[in-house]
Symmetry: C2
Subunit: 525 residues, 2 copies
């Protein structure tokens, strides 16, 4: 796309058509400036092929705020809307609505609460709560979901990979397999979720992380095509980057050519007073090859050099590689943990696409309407009880037990004071008869999760740096039960309702059912 | 991301770090302006869960060309490179290289041949062939793959969905589940591959397709929250959009509330001289509900109204829905094909993410180097024979049989004249003993697939409109054997080599093996 078109394609019209037709309908009915609340949350953890995540990492908020701050209906956007014709050739949008958009079509009236980026989050927790005029809150739905769903998905995948890789250095390599410019959002989310660096230069620049990368097979190939050898290629690389020498050793034959040649070059560097960084393995049995590489490097006196692994990695592949190393390394006289400590993971496709689960099911649901000066909780009845959003103004707390582990997230009415409830009752969100009681003496700490972000469109929150988000993520992960962090078949974390919210929800469901007898019928099947 | 950062994050630095470190290495060696050729191709069709595609639809070229035309090293990009430090604090990029980038760091020296967008393509066919100075051709790798892989992936998925849906109207709905701004590239590719419209307003504007969409559940919900009913919501919608009235009928209960209310409103519209467009079903058993909806609409005299289906659709789900309709509709006294003809598909997540196969494995490989005034084919030896790219300057032809069906794609040496070979021998790309012979009397037409696109960076090709690409795609699909179009377990299309290319490849493999005895060893295992 020509960059001159980006202003149109990525501005306020970066939304779905039905948001605009609904906004005009609200305008016609005089409802466009009625105050409403929408909650953004996801319903299910990503489910990667056969195994489902036990937690997610929240991400994407800052870029959404950047977009909201700049988005407005400019003349070219309005001109386009003016030209839209319906089936019979009539204008879809009327001039008075267009004039209203020109004057009021910004997010300046929006209040937002949100869970900060980098935090561990769970299904059905309101991650972003929007209050504001109906028309603009409605138009915000698509761009909000577009920007928050993806970054949360990728931060989650990165966190799992990081965790499985026993916290060794993790590099994001996915530019070539991303959805076009989505690569940049993906790189940012990967950094929040646990990647240390990205290979993508531009976004690394913008985010202040040095991009990483050395050379590809093509460099060795060019040398060979010009009559040289792999060793020539390595020597040249070492000459130009003597202190940053990391060599890709599998262009010809890893064990018989690549590693021996790399060792020769490392020895030459050493004689000149430089320290080689290491080697990269990009094909073959990475577990077996790392063991052999470590053995050869150790024997040559390069015990500290890094071994970078790449090629279709993800959390499961890394887990299998580490299991195999732990089993086999001792047979070759190697300390498995020492070997694992020198590994670095370069993860491309399966990180940037969230391999196995390429979309998060985040939604944006109306939960309250201000009518005649009073906020009224709104409910959407669904045939599946677990799809009925929690109504009204709410708050969310994380409850820590005496081990300082998070034991549940609790959703309640906004002004509830949990500290005065003893015991605290945690209702299962759907099953009427299931609840837990926690005495205050079993609780070390009750932490509210939502912070105020926008007040009438004005930022009232200090946006954390990515480094601060990473610190936050690590702290949250440490306070998760190990069973919840497990990558396969994790223990299900409790997301519960307070008795007050539970009762509000039931009474709204019941009164909706009275108005609509068909609902009652459906529920009783 | 703030739009002010986009120029950095999406400009020439939208590449991987190793492309820049390799470019500097080539510069140091005096090889940076050496002419080389890189081929872009994919190795495998997307493999969606259990079934693999039998063809792909090429897409993404025009946006890549837009990017290349604008990308250059501006002062802010160079300033950033100047600041990059290695492990020991030394500058990674030297000033003379930075000055070279400032002066020569554009794609003005690039020659490009490519297969046009919208065409049916197959593995190992060079889709894009780049010739130009080594340093810039190398830097191009990541942005080229990023932009071409994704659009080809999505155009392919859209084409399959379109084909399974027996060519009924297809709407792209995926904005909220895309990888951030990748949504726009995805919408474009979906249009090329067979979607008729997108719900995404901005990109529809840029591409000249009217965006589609009516209303969401939230509209009905707002009305109910304010004391109204579903019927009130539908009436209001019909009042404001009397000629574009498409109603979402599953907010409360599809059969007992939504459709009866929609019919009431359609009758009111009819009395006022308007034609209702139809209804949308977004949950439940879509096959069963379409039959019931059609029956109810028919009985009320609305035989022509559309029935839009949405909710986790993809080619297999649509196929199953149509099978079920064909089996069950007659039991309700309905003509299944008439019902199918009024369906419209709204496809979100599984189109924009290419559900089941979220990345295409497109690669970019060095295939020739100009040395001492002569082009030399380059080869990359791999332990897997099917990963060795076809070397040198090549051409690609599609061979049509007497039924005018494409029977094979043939890769040969650039200047070969196939018309003079009788019979034409089609070598299996790997298996030495397998080949086909086609007499010229068995061939109706031989069509070259590559066109000249860039000559020294200058566009020498008339870019087709998306409508033209769609026409091209339909024509190509019609000339595919039905077995190749099949969505599950398709017949494998032949991609073959001419005897001359086959021999060139073998001789290069053999001479590489002589230089590198380890390769020979590997091959003989």
């Amino acid at each position: 796309m020509k960059t001159s078109y980006q202003q149109i394609a990525e501005g306020i019209l970066y939304t779905d058509q039905y948001q605009l037709t609904m906004a005009q309908l609200y305008y016609r009915m005089g409802l466009h400036e009625k105050q409403v609340q929408f909650d953004h949350f996801f319903r299910n953890y990503p489910d990667y092929d056969l195994h489902q995540a036990g937690y997610c990492i929240n991400a994407g908020l800052e870029w959404l705020l950047d977009w909201m701050a700049e988005a407005r209906f400019r003349d070219q956007d309005l001109e386009y809307l003016r030209d839209r014709k319906g089936q019979t050739g009539n204008a879809i949008f009327s001039e008075d609505f267009i004039q209203w958009l020109k004057k009021n079509g910004t997010f300046d009236g929006i209040h937002m609460k949100a869970v900060p980026e980098g935090r561990v989050v769970h299904p059905n927790i309101p991650l972003t709560v929007i209050r504001g005029p109906l028309a603009m809150a409605q138009i915000l739905e698509s761009p909000l979901l577009n920007q928050l769903n993806y970054q949360t998905l990728i931060a989650t995948k990165a966190s799992r990979i990081r965790d499985c890789g026993t916290n060794q250095l993790l590099l994001e390599f996915g530019l070539r397999r991303a959805q076009d410019r989505g690569a940049n959002a993906g790189a940012r989310a990967a950094l929040i979720g646990g990647a240390d660096f990205s290979s993508n230069v531009g976004i690394s620049h913008v985010l202040g992380y040095p991009p990483q990368g050395t050379h590809a097979h093509s460099m060795v190939q060019v040398m060979i095509a010009l009559g040289g050898s792999e060793l020539d290629a390595f020597r040249t690389y070492a000459e130009i980057y003597p202190d940053d020498c990391l060599l890709l050793v599998d262009t010809i034959n890893t064990l018989e050519s690549g590693i021996p040649n790399a060792i020769k070059v490392f020895e030459e560097l050493k004689r000149k007073g430089h320290h080689a960084i290491g080697i990269r393995l990009d094909s073959g049995d990475l577990a077996h090859l790392s063991i052999q590489a470590a053995k050869m490097l150790n024997e040559a006196g390069f015990k500290g050099t890094r071994i970078v692994l790449s090629n279709q990695l993800d959390e499961l592949v890394i887990w299998q590689i580490l299991s195999q190393i732990r089993k086999e390394a001792p047979r070759y006289g190697l300390d498995a943990e020492k070997l694992i400590n020198r590994l670095v993971y370069g993860v491309g496709t399966r990180l940037i696409t969230s391999g196995g689960s390429p979309a998060l099911d985040g939604v944006y649901k109306l939960t309250a309407v201000r009518d005649a000066g009073k906020w009224k909780p709104a409910i959407k009845i669904s045939e599946s009880l677990d799809k009925i959003p929690n109504p009204g103004h709410k708050n969310v707390w994380r409850i820590y037990d005496l081990r300082d582990k998070a034991t549940a997230d609790l959703i309640g009415i906004e002004d509830e004071d949990l500290h005065h409830m003893d015991p605290l009752t945690l209702h299962h969100p759907i099953v009427h008869t299931t609840y837990r009681s926690l005495g205050q003496n079993q609780i070390s700490h009750i932490e509210p999760l939502l912070v105020d972000v926008l007040d009438e469109g004005k930022l009232v929150y200090d946006l954390p740096s990515i480094d601060e988000m990473r610190v936050r993520r690590i702290a949250d992960l440490e306070r998760l039960d190990p069973g919840v962090r497990r990558i396969m078949n994790p223990h299900i974390y409790h997301v519960s309702l307070t008795p007050k919210l539970w009762e509000l929800k039931q009474s709204l469901i019941n009164s909706s059912s009275e108005d609509n007898p068909t609902i009652e019928r459906k529920k009783s099947i």
